[in-house]
């Protein structure tokens, strides 16, 4: 073993044991600690450190009182001699050395004068100042020593100043020194504390023992005789008299099995021996304490998410690019609450002008609710595309033709046009107006051909559905006039004249009938005048052109009257009407009449004289009704602007409701041949819908809104008052309160 190796071991030993020894000294002999600290630096192994320290201390005492010397401390004397040498080596703390020498000399001079106690007292006084200086003096902390290899200092003192290294002797001096000094081989340089120490002979011996693998202390006997504290022979009865079992003497089968198992596993490579740990190349000075090495051993520590650090935008006066523009702020309003940015940067010119946190009350309230464990509703956002909720409607282009453009106007009336009616061939249109006139227009040119002055606001006009009977039923006030239009050839005219001529007998009806209705001959226009006892609101022809139904809303039980033109007979509807009748319509093919009261529509069979069906409109006030040309579907318009489509085969509830108009629907109409229907309203618009009814009963009617027809201007709250389709063309005529009739073409 080389001397350098020996030195290294000793230094390490000193480092390990010094602190324990100091502690020991502090507790045992505090009086002399500070003086003997340098001795402690020579302390060898941990096992005998305390004793060594004790030895060292007693050496010091032995100088002043040799009689206290213990026989085991023969070598202590030598140590005492060495002390001087050591003290001379101490260059750093001269004061300390001097004092030490004085002490020693004092001790030597007046051995008897100074008692133990007085010395100890003095020592206590001194110790206060010097203990901190000498006590554990690692100046560089827990860092490798080589970091200071090339530095001029080693560590820092408490004030932060660099502790400079002692000047090393150059090689020549050290060689000369070693050549002169026979003990130089025992000297070791302590790098941590930057000083040279000399080992004692005893310590060298101890090291030699350690290197040989023996106990460091010469006195320690590893083979001391065994003292059996248990007295075997005195016991009357042995603890157990059982013979030693056999299993104690045979090798364990289980163990051998286990060994075989392990051997096999090792051979297969299932068990691997730990690889020697690699020292990390770099020391992580600022590394996290919760390093990976710790993590593998313990439960994984999941750190909480770090909150975002405040940015420039959260400043009270951020630069302009962080301030959102007004459009951006507006666009935040369109976003969902969750997506909206939580913080909108604002500028304040000074710190003073920053207002209080505006959500303070709200937040504290929320916090209170949280503390109260108050459950709150979490609104679930429904993620449905609104477009997908729309019913799939066919393209409008595929549903052509339908009316959309107004090219022709029929102008001439001086007041609101209340009602229009088309001649069955579609050549003429009749209109009745509030100005008391009935006009007939040529459809193709817009030419007014005839005017009748009725003298009273014309409520309703209806053209006879027979092409060969061009007569017009007109209701004005309480009268219904059957006018001869003068169209048709001579034979037809002759017949009509005969039909419309009543002799002198005007009251040939039964008495009760004459009280509320009378047939008159009107001289002025050579027509029939049916005088009712109440205002007639509408006139409807039966499809055969002979029956005529009139409606008096105020007529109570005689509200609906049915007149037969050829026989000049009148009868009332033999049913009790529940409510005020508003509108009526004939079934287009069968002898069925639809009577709309304010709430419901009742369907009566005229032949069987009974109620067939009651349609619940769910409307507040029905205003108009129209029957599909096939007869199974009915549309009902109401005064609140709602339109209801009833499929009579399906249900008595509406099949579809269309809420388009903003004001009262004034009339609804079906086209005779095209799958179209329309509604017109007081809001000045007319709506055209596609309403396809399939012959297949399994298929529901298809209703598609097509077009909003505008053009009429409103006057005193009324807009479009009547609408009707051309019988053969997909054209819609609308009569407006602005005293015009408009034709919308396809």
């Amino acid at each position: 073993m080389s001397p350098a190796q020996t030195k290294g071991i000793v230094v390490r030993m000193i480092q390990g044991t010094r602190r324990t020894a100091v502690k020991y000294l502090n507790t045992t002999r505090p009086d002399r600690v500070e003086k003997n600290m340098h001795i402690l630096r020579f302390i060898g192994t941990r096992s005998n450190s305390s004793r060594l320290a004790l030895v060292a201390v007693t050496i010091v005492h032995s100088r002043k009182s040799p009689r206290f010397m213990t026989p085991s401390l023969t070598m202590g004397h030598q140590e005492g001699e060495k002390l001087d040498n050591i003290n001379t080596l101490e260059t750093r703390d001269e004061d300390f050395v001097e004092r030490g020498n004085n002490n020693v000399s004092d001790d030597n001079d007046d051995q008897d004068e100074h008692s133990e106690s007085s010395q100890s007292h003095q020592a206590v006084d001194e110790s206060d100042s010097s203990e901190d200086e000498v006590a554990p003096r690692n100046t560089i902390g827990d860092v490798p020593l080589e970091w200071y290899k090339d530095e001029k200092h080693i560590g820092y003192d408490i004030a932060g100043r660099k502790i400079t290294k002692k000047e090393r002797q150059d090689k020549l001096d050290s060689f000369l020194a070693s050549a002169d000094d026979s003990k130089s081989w025992r000297k070791i340089y302590d790098e941590y504390n930057d000083e040279e120490v000399e080992l004692t002979k005893e310590e060298i011996k101890q090291i030699g023992r350690l290197l040989k693998g023996k106990a460091p202390h010469a006195e320690f006997d590893p083979y001391a005789p065994y003292v059996d504290w248990f007295k075997w022979d005195d016991a009357k009865h042995p603890l157990s008299n059982a013979p030693e079992p056999k299993r104690r003497f045979i090798p364990s089968k289980w163990e051998s099995k286990k060994v075989v198992e392990y051997v096999r596993a090792i051979r297969k490579g299932l068990i691997k021996f730990d690889q020697p740990k690699e020292e990390p190349r770099f020391y992580s000075l600022w590394g996290d304490d919760s390093s990976s090495a710790d993590r593998t051993k313990h439960l994984a520590y999941i750190p909480p998410p770090k909150p975002k650090l405040p940015g420039h935008e959260e400043s009270y006066n951020p630069s302009l690019e962080y301030i959102p523009t007004q459009e951006e702020i507006n666009s935040y309003q369109l976003m969902y609450e969750e997506d909206r940015p939580k913080f909108i940067p604002k500028r304040f010119t000074s710190f003073r002008s920053i207002p209080a946190y505006e959500n303070a009350v709200k937040d504290s309230f929320e916090r209170c609710l949280d503390l109260y464990l108050c459950p709150r509703v979490r609104k679930k956002r429904i993620n449905i595309d609104p477009e997908s909720l729309k019913p799939k409607l066919p393209n409008k282009k595929d549903l052509r033709p339908y009316p959309f453009a107004c090219y022709l106007e029929y102008k001439g009336h001086e007041d609101a046009v209340l009602s229009i009616s088309l001649e069955p061939s579609g050549q003429w249109i009749a209109s009745g107006s509030k100005d008391g006139t009935v006009r007939i227009w040529e459809v193709g040119t817009g030419r007014c051909l005839r005017v009748w002055e009725i003298g009273e606001a014309v409520q309703h006009v209806a053209w006879n559905p027979l092409p060969a009977r061009p007569i017009l039923a007109v209701s004005a006030g309480a009268d219904v006039l059957i006018l001869n239009t003068g169209f048709g050839n001579e034979e037809e005219q002759k017949e009509i004249k005969k039909l419309l001529h009543i002799g002198t007998s005007t009251s040939d009806d039964s008495d009760d009938m004459s009280s509320y209705l009378s047939w008159h001959q009107d001289e002025k226009y050579d027509c029939i005048r049916l005088r009712h006892y109440r205002t007639v609101s509408s006139v409807v022809w039966h499809r055969k052109g002979d029956y005529l139904s009139t409606l008096m809303p105020a007529g109570e039980s005689r509200a609906v009257l049915i007149h037969q033109l050829s026989k000049r007979l009148t009868q009332r509807l033999p049913f009790k009407l529940h409510g005020l009748p508003v509108s009526l319509a004939f079934h287009p093919t069968r002898s069925i009449i639809f009577v709309a009261t304010k709430k419901n529509v009742r369907v009566y069979d005229m032949l069987k004289q009974k109620l067939i069906k009651k349609l619940e409109t769910q409307l507040r006030e029905v205003s108009s009704i129209a029957v599909h040309p096939a007869g199974d579907n009915v549309i009902v318009g109401s005064k609140e602007g709602k339109l209801r489509w009833f499929d009579m085969d399906l249900s008595s509830k509406p099949y579809q409701s269309l809420d388009c108009h903003r004001k009262d629907i004034t009339n609804v109409a079906f086209h005779r041949s095209y799958p179209l229907f329309a509604s017109c309203s007081d809001d000045g618009t007319a709506y055209v819908f596609h309403g396809m009814v399939y012959a297949d009963l399994n298929e529901n009617p298809r209703i598609v809104p097509l077009e909003i027809l505008r053009g009429h201007t409103s006057s005193d709250g009324r807009g479009v008052l009547d609408c009707t389709f051309h019988p053969r063309q997909p054209w819609l005529f609308t009569a407006g309160a602005d005293s015009t009739i408009k034709l919308y073409c396809h």
């Binding site: 453009a405 090219y407 030419r447």
Partner: protein
């Protein structure tokens, strides 16, 4: 900017040619003109050139044709649109612009003018909503009044005016009859002569909407609201039926001695709605337009329906013209004038569509001899002249204050139109080669 200034200053080599008379000819040399010129600029250049030749030249508008198409935009755009090279010398043909240069004094009627026929150069025949037909010698000079209809005269047609002194005309009315009239066209007196029809044609069950005469003049056809087309003989030949009816009429009404009654020779059935317009351009074929959206071609001999064109709109007027009387111009309940070519197989789309009107079109007429010019009148109060070679109207006659109900060419160079303002306007001096 550079490019723009370059195009602005770009010049095109052009040569002006014409098929007009010698006095309209300009020197046949190529000249360079700016490429941004419009028709007006071209016209002024030609006028300048003409003035250089003939110092007494009066400025006149011209229209310009490049490759058979009328120039209606700046030259450079035109060349770009047609893909023509601006490098070559461009040959521009010029013709006299088709537009009325003079507006005659209107002929005032008592009521809406519903029908007009200008096929005779000697007079104009009009029908009116007061039930009278009128014959106008010239603007403002009414020579004859045809009275007898009890309803609105809806259509008029000149049957025979050439050759003989007395002209024969037919009128159709909403009183379900047609009447034939005979008068001396040369008769000119200050007071209009009142005439009665020499023949009444009864047989329709509804208003007669249109009448058209055969080119030979011995027959007329009429379309009516009863969905039929009736064919009638015009000549008062000695048919038994006629004499019988004369006797009958004599018994009934002694006043109408001179009037005979005619019955339909045959009836063409097929339309499902009002037959709004008929034309009889060739000997054996009748074309009819109807409110049932179809145009039909009828064989007169067999009374069969030869072909249909389905239009999708209510049709009000039809005329056949173009080269070889092959193109059918049809218009009706929308502002588009459509022209069909039945020779083109497998197409149901019109070959031309003119859509400058803003309301229903009430009449359309081909020019007598030009195969590219036609006119249309509309309820928006405008009469437009069209050329097949451009999609823009050549001229718009805006003289009416209300709906125009009828329009026709007269004497090749005039347009006569009548409307709801009860006036017949004559726009004359239209130069069509």
């Amino acid at each position: 900017m550079d490019i723009e200034s370059e195009t602005n200053s770009r010049r095109i080599q052009v040569r002006f040619v014409t098929k007009l008379k010698a006095r309209y000819k300009v020197p046949n040399t190529a000249i360079a003109i700016p490429s941004h010129l419009h028709r007006l600029g071209l016209s002024s250049i030609v006028n300048k050139l003409l003035q250089a030749v003939n110092s007494e030249w009066k400025t006149e508008p011209f229209d310009f044709l490049i490759d058979g198409e009328l120039v209606r935009m700046p030259l450079e755009e035109f060349l770009l649109a047609k893909g023509l090279s601006a490098e070559k010398t461009l040959e521009i043909e010029y013709i006299r612009a088709v537009s009325p240069r003079r507006e005659e004094e209107p002929c005032v009627h008592d009521d809406w003018v519903s029908a007009v026929d200008g096929s005779s150069p000697r007079f104009i025949l009009t029908g009116c909503y007061d039930g009278l037909g009128r014959v106008w010698k010239q603007a403002g000079q009414c020579t004859h009044i045809l009275e007898g209809h009890t309803g609105v005269v809806s259509s008029v047609s000149i049957i025979n005016s050439e050759g003989t002194d007395s002209a024969i005309v037919a009128t159709a009315s909403k009183d379900q009859t047609l009447r034939l009239w005979k008068f001396d066209a040369e008769d000119s007196s200050d007071q209009p002569a009142r005439l009665r029809a020499f023949k009444i044609l009864r047989g329709h069950n509804a208003s007669v909407h249109s009448v058209a005469a055969k080119t030979s003049g011995d027959m007329v056809c009429s379309g009516s609201w009863d969905c039929t087309i009736n064919l009638w003989r015009t000549n008062d030949s000695d048919i038994d039926g006629d004499t019988v009816s004369i006797k009958k009429r004599k018994v009934n009404n002694t006043d109408e001695e001179s009037q005979s009654e005619g019955e339909a020779v045959s009836t063409l059935v097929g339309h499902t709605q009002c037959v709004s317009s008929v034309v009889w351009p060739q000997h054996e074929t009748i074309y009819s337009a109807s409110w049932d959206h179809s145009v039909r071609k009828w064989d007169v001999e067999t009374g069969k329906d030869l072909s249909d064109i389905f239009c999708g709109k209510v049709l009000n007027c039809i005329d056949v013209g173009g080269e070889g009387l092959a193109l059918i111009a049809v218009a009706g309940s929308d502002p588009i004038l459509r022209i069909w070519d039945p020779r083109k197989p497998e197409t149901s789309a019109p070959v031309f569509q003119f859509s400058s009107h803003s309301s229903w079109i009430s009449a359309c007429k081909w020019h007598n001899w030009s195969s590219v010019h036609l006119l249309s009148s509309s309820y928006d109060g405008k009469v437009m002249l069209w050329d097949l070679r451009t999609a823009f109207p050549l001229a718009i006659i805006n003289s009416h204050k209300d709906k125009v109900l009828c329009a026709d060419w007269w004497k090749g160079g005039c347009v006569v139109s009548g409307g709801a303002d009860a006036q017949l306007h004559i726009s004359s001096d239209i130069s069509i080669q």
